[in-house]
Structure formats: structure tokens, C-alpha cells
Amino acid sequence: MASLIKTFLLTDLLKGLWTTFKNQKPSKVVTEQYPLNRPPVAERYRGAPRLNTHPETSETLCISCNLCALACPEQLIVVTSERNPETKRKDLTTFTYDVSRCMFCGLCEDACPVDALELTQDFELATYTREGQIWDRQMLEEGPLPVRYTH
């Protein structure tokens, strides 16, 4: 009899509707106004690659060891260098990184022995051309420069 009354009064459905109603919070806005306010990403976020330079001398930290290129599963990094006859070291000439094929696994970053190559918190990587996705050394050092919108 009790179950019949429960069936008749739709208690099970009203219980669910009450749960739905409880979760309505019009005061809490979760929508992010994206191009105006960029969402914060985690400190360890794996985004756009960057080739670090020395903060004072602005010389590259890269020692042209080619380990990142060997670690990359997609083989999208190309490093060229020439031997400096005075210091007997390799000087970096070009560094190419094809972002369009990158899956941001972070293996290149792990392989780098001097923390020169790093995946940063930048995530706006769209370009108008395919060629724009192939980043050269200058682009890697400066990083992407997305448009900052204002009202």
C-alpha cells in the first residue's frame, strides 16, 4: 500500500527533480570570457615550445647536442650547428620545430641536458598558414605573440 502511494505521488521522479534543482546556482558563473580573460593553466602545462636564452647575455642555452631531436617520437626537431674553431664547441646555427606535428608529450623537454628546450604555458598556436606552424629559432626564442583583445 505504501509503495502504491509512492508510485502514485511520483516521489522517485520528484526526488530527482529536487536534486537537479539543488544544483542550480545562478549566482555562480562558470563561463570564462575567453579571449578577454585567459584561463590559468597549470605550472607544468605542456604547451608551446620555447628555446631559452641566457637572461643577461641573451645567448642561447642550447649546446646543439641533438638529444631532443633523437628523443622526439615524431622526429619534428631539426638542429644544425657548426664547430667553432676557437672554443672547440658546437655553435647552434638553426633550430626548427614543427609544431603542427607535435603532440606535446614532453620527451624533448625531458631529454634536454641544459634546460634549453622547454614546453611553456602558452597554448594559442593557431596560424593562417601551414608554414607558420614550422617554428624557426627566432620564433622559438621569442614565443608566440597572440593578440591581446580589449574592449
Binding site: T7, D12, L13, K15, G16, W18, T19, T20, K22, N23, V41, A42, E43, R44, Y45, R46, A71, C72, P73, M103, F104, C105, G106, L107, D110, L119
Partner: protein, 380 residues
Amino acid sequence: MAETTLAPPEVQAETLLDSNELVLNMGPQHPSTHGVLRVILKLDGETVLGTDCVIGYLHRGVEKIAENRTFQQFAPYVDRMDYVAAVSNGLGYCMAVEKLLDVEIPPRAQAVRVILTELNRLASHLLWLGTHALDIGAITPVFLCFREREEVLKIFENYCGARLTTHAFRIGGLQYETYDTFEKECLEFCDLMEQKLKEYHDLLTGNRIWVRRTKGVGILNAADCKDYGVTGPLIRAAGVEWDLRKAQPYCGYENYDFDIPTAETGDTFDRYMVRMEEMVQSCRIIRQAVDALPEGPIKGKVGKVIKPPPGEAYVSIEAPKGELGYYVVSDGSLNPYRVRVRPPSFVNLGALDKMCRGSLVADVVAIIGTIDIVLGEVDR
């Protein structure tokens, strides 16, 4: 033109399609097939006479890619198979290579691995619950489930820098040390989850529409489960207490106290209840692992170059969807000679025909949802 002769009338009647029968394509763009699954249904009115699955729309040849990558380089690719439970995939692959290398994993790394895979099980089950309820017609759960899943993804992002294709584990242990508030966030999430599970039960478990749509639908009994090789929540819902975390413990699961939830009939409602209970058990495991998180190194003794001795290894783990196995063959070089994956979704999908026969078209949607397939893993 050759002279044609008509078959005798009694043969004609058997071979020609009955005028009541209808062949219907469901998918690959159907939103309830969870991706790009195409199911060819043979119908008599509303009743399903038989089904035929067409898969392969998402085939990327992952196993072949493995042969052209080194052991470390292949690790990010396994995340792209079952992308809902990427951490479990990474664990399975790393464990298979570690078995080949015969290295010991430090206890801290083991514990962090357990925490992350259990969090991933919660995320996977939450996604399953949301989409399964959405398929059947309940709109609210999907929003609530995604809200809670977001918390797990935030922990993943803080831990390893990616939300979905995490690449959290490396061969030999971990790459990243836990961050400062990791333990606190995990425990907070467990509290939140236990509170929210009550809400899900309020929304669905007693709901008469939900019960009518799931009770007695897609029954797969224990014998059929064993015949089809079905594992995971599907076999547990049929009453078989089979969980690889208990049956052949790995990663230190023998140290944690948890139960294997089972049910009896093996219908869609039972599978729902089993997965809901599994979420509670996952929270239990996370709490125990966080409380007893040991200090120490996070990486075992593996070199920069991973070159396992010739041999083969098969490791299977309990992924959210069932038994996930990795079979890795090494010929002593830098690249694996062969990698074969035993995907739970693919094997479980094989039982779809058995579960669908005799049911209604609308129930096919419920049954596909209850198997919990990810097409990235089915097609590989």
C-alpha cells in the same frame, strides 16, 4: 545473356527478404554509438533480429607505429587508444616493458601510480555514467558528472601538465614528483565524490524511467561472459568475482583493502550498480594510498637508453573497462619487435549481438552505452 531459371518457390520463400524485415544502419555518425561505431541492425518491426558491427573508422595502426619507435617514444601513443583512461593504458605499457627489463619500481612510484590510475577509473566511470544516462534520456547527470570529472582532470593537469593524453608514467617509474597540494586535493576529491555519488543515486537509482529502461535489458549471463572473453564490470555484474587487482595483484594492490562489487542477473541495471559501487571502492583505495604514501625515489634503475634483452612479456591490468593487456616482444634492439594490445572495449563489443537479439531498437542504444566502449581503443 545467360538464361536464368527461377529457384523453386519453397527456396524462394526462404532466401527472399521477409517483407516485415528491415535492415537499418545505425552510425557511424549516430551520437549514441559513442564515436564512430556503425551497427547494421536487422529488424522485424521494432524487434532486433541480429546486429553486425562495422569498426575501423578510427584505425591508426598503433601497433605498427610501435615497431618504428623506441620503447620510450611509443609511450605517448598508448594514451591515444583509450583516451578516457589514458593513465591506465600508460601503466599497462610501462609495466610490460619493465617486465622485459626486469627492473624494480620504487614503492613511492608504485603508490603514486595506484592513486593516478584509480583517479582515472573515477574519471572514466563518470564519463560513462554521464553519457549512458544521456543516451537513455536523462539530461542532468551528464552535467553533474562532467563537473566532478573536471576536478580529476585538474589534478592530472597539475601533476603532469596534460588533462587527457597525460603521458604520466615513464618506463621505470615516474617522471614528475607530486606537487605540494597533491595529497590534499586527492583526499578532497574523494570526499566530494562520496557526497556526489549520493546525488547520482537520487537522480537515477530509484527513478522509475531509469529502472524500466535498464532492468532486464541486455542480459549477459556468466557463462556467456566467459565464452565471449568479456571482462571488467560486465562479468562482475553477471556474478563472477573477477578483478585482476585481486586475482593477480600488480603495483602493490595487494596492500590495499577493497571489495569487488558484484551483482547477479547481468542486465544493464546491474552493470550500472556495479560501476557505481566501483567508484566508492576507488575512493577507498585512493584514501589508503594517500595516507600511506611512502617517501623515496620515484624512478627505478633504468638507463637513458632502454634496450631490453630479447624476449617477450605479457602484462594485463584491470583498466576501467576490463582486462587491458600489453604483449611486447623485444629482439634486443631499441625498438619493440612487436606490440600487441588486448583492448577490453573491443572484446566486450563482441558480445553486443548476443545482448541485442530480441530486444527493441531503443534498447540497443542502452546496451552500447552499458558496454562502455571507446572507439579509439576498439579500432586502435
